[in-house]
């Protein structure tokens, strides 16, 4: 919630960032400093979610290997349980090529975002709109991929309420997904403002701030992709 407020403040709020652009004690913009502090705080948030996931995965796997009937029954696809036992990991659950594509899309959106910022700092409003739109679109593709993946998991029996792993996985990726969605809303807002002619070069910092947020969300996915998907 608070990030939404911070972001809302920064998205169109000119006052703070106006005088922030002028001299301050550190000669830095207030909004940008606040954004970085917020991102520093977010590290603790995602760190807690990732550790929760790691612990839950370890405990889930122990139960599966030990054959705890409650946990085994929570996965409706019995072959999957067999595969997990054989592999000694939860790896068989994941569809790595699909997720790799998602990760690639998100990386690409980061590029689009940085190009959007470049465009507005050069007062190139046409390119600004193109790249803002592209970023939002790629983000939406990523979210669509998430939804597809969640549905597939649900069919295999890894549900949010069914097992410890499910709860941890969906909460971690869901939290990330909410962050991406929030970013998309901000990007769309910027796009509308731009079309209304209210997003000019003197507000390049607003785009930069949304960009910082967007790149951070991307970076978190870089971690999640490796830790959750690639490392068994």
């Amino acid at each position: 919630m608070s990030d939404a407020a911070v972001v809302a403040e920064q998205a169109t709020d000119h006052v703070e960032d106006e005088h922030a652009g002028h001299a301050t004690s550190l000669n830095l913009s207030n909004m940008k400093l606040a954004m970085w502090l917020f991102l520093g705080s977010e590290c603790l948030l995602f760190g807690a979610l990732i550790s929760t996931y790691l612990l839950s995965k370890a405990r889930f796997l122990t139960e599966i290997l030990a054959g705890n009937p409650v946990v085994v029954d929570s996965i409706s696809n019995p072959t999957l349980v067999e595969e997990m036992r054989a592999a000694g990991s939860v790896e068989p659950l994941f569809d790595i090529p699909f997720t790799s594509l998602s990760s690639f899309i998100l990386l690409m959106s980061s590029l689009a975002m940085v190009l959007a910022h470049k465009a507005i700092s050069e007062a190139d409003y046409k390119n600004l709109r193109i790249w803002l739109g592209t970023t939002a679109l790629l983000g939406s593709f990523f979210i669509a991929g998430q939804i597809a993946e969640f549905t597939a998991f649900k069919e295999e029996g890894l549900s949010f309420t069914g097992s410890l792993l499910g709860s941890a996985f969906f909460t971690l990726t869901g939290f990330h997904g909410i962050h991406v969605s929030g970013g998309i809303v901000m990007l769309m807002t910027l796009l509308v403002l731009s079309f209304k002619g209210k997003l000019n070069q003197d507000r390049a910092e607003t785009v930069e701030l949304v960009g910082l947020y967007w790149h951070f969300v991307d970076v978190v996915w870089v971690l999640i992709f490796t830790i959750v998907y690639l490392i068994p």
Partner: protein, 660 residues
């Protein structure tokens, strides 16, 4: 500071007309300067600070009544004054309220009111986010307390260990209220932390280097960093619990293989920095009060600063000492016992530096000073009892007994709250423009000292005699009768001490009104920091012009100088060199409805999560509307009174006289 050196003009982007009255056609812009509407929509850090303080005192009365109920129940063995269920709710809510809705917000009240004044800024970096923080805290606190009327309060202890916090073991909605209410106050803390850190780092007056900031500013800065990094952790723990309780997830479902220790770790990673962020503002306050009334500078300023930073840093490395008996294994116990031992070092440095400040001083023992000395002595007791159970083997006998209850009350009541009382008496004239009565203040102090020590002193003995915490009742044969009785007597004396303070507040106001509202002057204490260089009460715009900072305790150095014999003489009176409080041409951020509305959407969503998800729809709608309303509303309103006046020349003149 741009805000001073630049003409105080907030430029609007092209397309926005100045003074857009109703950005979404919903409201017209709030205009009132007084009355309820002003308080609801204000973005002035001083008013927000006052609201933080008043709300915290209001919650303190609720938490205090809960404390008295606990003490009545425990005054005699096998008492049935409170049922087991009621007792569990009362002690849980007492702890939760006192920590989250009293001590933390009073710290926030002082930080809000004082930080901009002490660093020479006109307001915080983000005034509307500041208002939003307050309303989140207040509405979250009200929501938490509404559980009393909606099926009972939380009954799992403030630490709320899993799996006892699950629906299976706590079927009432109490823990849901605890969870959602504290999530909302967490948002308040986090946004407040970002705001205040930015303010301190980025809005200092010219010349105010980091190492020239008052100690209170330093301690608040460390506090805000602790919040910045600790709040997300409790947020995650609470989200996990929320998922478990409301959406049937399995994070703490042992049957599915979950590990209950995960909760303990997440909770205490937050919980221990929490302890330090409650005490550090009080440390900051007494570090201002003691030098003022000892007529000496603080002893070892850099050590005070760095020990504060060290406490903040080490505060993140000791959390598992709350889990020495959880079976985390001797390796972890050893590591955390050692780190806990060594956090005593910077704390000890602080205490000894205060003592050294007293040494050789000419002490004016007014109420603020008495409370500060009360903090030093009582916190020392709490700190030393802390060392005794940092020893992990002894801790296996002492943890979860009344010994611990005694320990943390000595730290948080005898320490933090005594410090806050000192702060109230000290800064009252700056906040409200009149002094608190000294005679009543001294009664207040001595009653509280006697009551406090009689209440919590015996708890050391009770704990060592083996009385565990969180017990609804105990048996006659256990030998706890005597000291429990005296503790209850003490708690009522303590409560009357608090009432004396509240009486003093109203009495002083009444007498001041009757005496024709005499002004105490900008500098009634002959104080040291720059908030005393402006009028009392602090004018709405804080500073007429930029203070130019040359040294630590800059205002004091303006008043005193050495004469030809090298002897310090008073060369100027505070009242003579203070800024006149002329706000001509100053343009302030305009009030706004949106922070209040955005904050109000959160409890709505919270009630929705607890009772019916349908309720979240209006809450979510209000949230989206408020976010966009906020974003589209110019923070500035050029039609506002005060008028906009371009004093460029004036400012240039002031700037030219500055020696940097």
């Amino acid at each position: 500071m741009a805000i001073f050196n630049e003409p105080l003009r907030y430029s609007l982007p092209e397309g926005d007309k100045p003074g857009v009255a109703n950005p979404l056609g919903v409201f017209s812009r709030p205009r009132s300067e007084t009355g309820l509407k002003d308080w609801l929509t204000t973005v002035d850090h001083k008013k927000i600070g006052i609201m933080y303080g008043s709300a915290a005192v209001f919650f303190m009365l609720i938490g205090g009544v809960a404390a008295l109920l606990i003490r009545i129940q425990l005054a005699t063995p096998n008492s049935n004054f409170l049922s087991a269920d009621a007792y569990n709710q009362v002690y849980t809510m007492h702890g939760t309220i006192m920590i989250f809705l009293v001590v933390m917000p009073i710290g926030a009240a002082f930080a809000n009111f004082l930080l901009p004044l002490q660093i020479g800024a006109r307001d915080v970096a983000f005034p509307r986010i500041n208002a939003f923080s307050f309303w989140c805290f207040f509405l979250g606190g009200l929501m938490l307390n509404s559980s009393w009327f909606l099926g009972g309060g939380a009954d799992g202890g403030w630490f709320n260990y899993a799996p006892n916090n699950g629906v299976a073991y706590s079927p009432s909605h109490g823990i849901d209220f605890w969870n959602v209410g504290l999530l909302i106050t967490g948002i308040a803390s986090l946004s407040g932390a970002i705001n205040l850190i930015t303010t301190v780092l980025n809005m200092r007056a010219p010349g105010m280097d980091l190492m020239k900031m008052p100690i209170f500013v330093w301690m608040s800065l460390v506090t805000q960093f602790l919040l910045l990094f600790a709040i997300p952790v409790i947020t995650v723990a609470q989200v996990l619990l929320l998922m478990d309780r409301v959406f049937d997830a399995n994070f703490f479902n042992v049957e599915q293989g979950a590990d209950p220790l995960l909760w303990q770790h997440l909770f205490w990673i937050f919980g221990h920095p929490e302890v330090y962020l409650m005490i550090l503002p009080a440390f900051g306050i007494v570090s201002e009060v003691i030098p003022t009334f000892a007529r000496k500078p603080i002893f070892g300023y850099p050590f005070m600063v760095f020990s504060g930073i060290a406490i903040g840093f080490m505060g993140f490395g000791v959390w598992a000492h709350h889990m020495f008996v959880s079976g985390i294994g001797p390796l972890s116990v050893t590591a955390f016992a050692l780190s806990t031992m060594f956090i005593a070092v910077p704390t000890g440095v602080k205490i000894l530096n205060w003592v050294a400040t007293l040494w050789g001083g000419k002490l004016t023992l007014n109420t603020a000073m008495l409370f500060s000395i009360g903090l030093i002595t009582q916190f020392t007791v709490g700190g030393l009892s802390g060392v005794t159970h940092a020893m992990a083997p002894s801790d296996t006998q002492q943890t979860d007994t009344y010994y611990i209850v005694a320990h943390f009350h000595y730290v948080l009541f005898g320490g933090a709250l005594f410090g806050f009382m000192a702060g109230f008496y000290f800064w009252w004239p700056k906040v409200f423009g009149h002094m608190l009565n000294e005679k009543w203040g001294k009664w207040n102090f001595w009653t509280m000292v006697v009551g406090f020590n009689l209440t919590f002193g015996p708890m050391h003995i009770l704990g060592l005699q083996g009385m565990p915490r969180r017990m609804q009742t105990y048996d006659d044969a256990m030998g706890f009768n005597l000291w429990n009785f005296w503790a209850t007597v003490g708690s009522f004396i303590l409560a009357s001490g608090v009432l004396l303070f509240i009486t003093n507040v109203f009495l002083s106001l009444y007498r001041w009104n009757k005496a024709g509202k005499p002004n105490p002057g900008p500098d009634p204490w002959d104080a040291r920091t720059i908030e005393w260089s402006i009028q009392s009460p602090a004018p709405e715009h804080n500073f007429d012009y930029d203070p130019q900072i040359v040294s630590v305790d800059d205002f004091w150095h303006q008043k005193y100088a050495e004469d030809e014999n090298g002897k310090l003489r008073k060369v100027a009176h505070g009242a003579d060199i203070a800024q006149p409080g002329n706000g001509e041409g100053v343009h302030l951020p305009a009030p706004s409805y949106w922070p209040l509305l955005l904050a109000a959407s959160l409890p709505l969503i919270g009630y929705g999560l607890i009772f019916s998800l349908w309720l979240t729809i209006p809450g979510g709608f209000l949230m989206v509307v408020s976010l966009y309303g906020w974003a589209l509303e110019p923070a500035d309103d050029l039609d506002l009174p005060h008028g906009h006046d371009d004093h460029k020349s004036d400012h240039a003149e002031i700037a030219s006289t500055v020696n940097v």
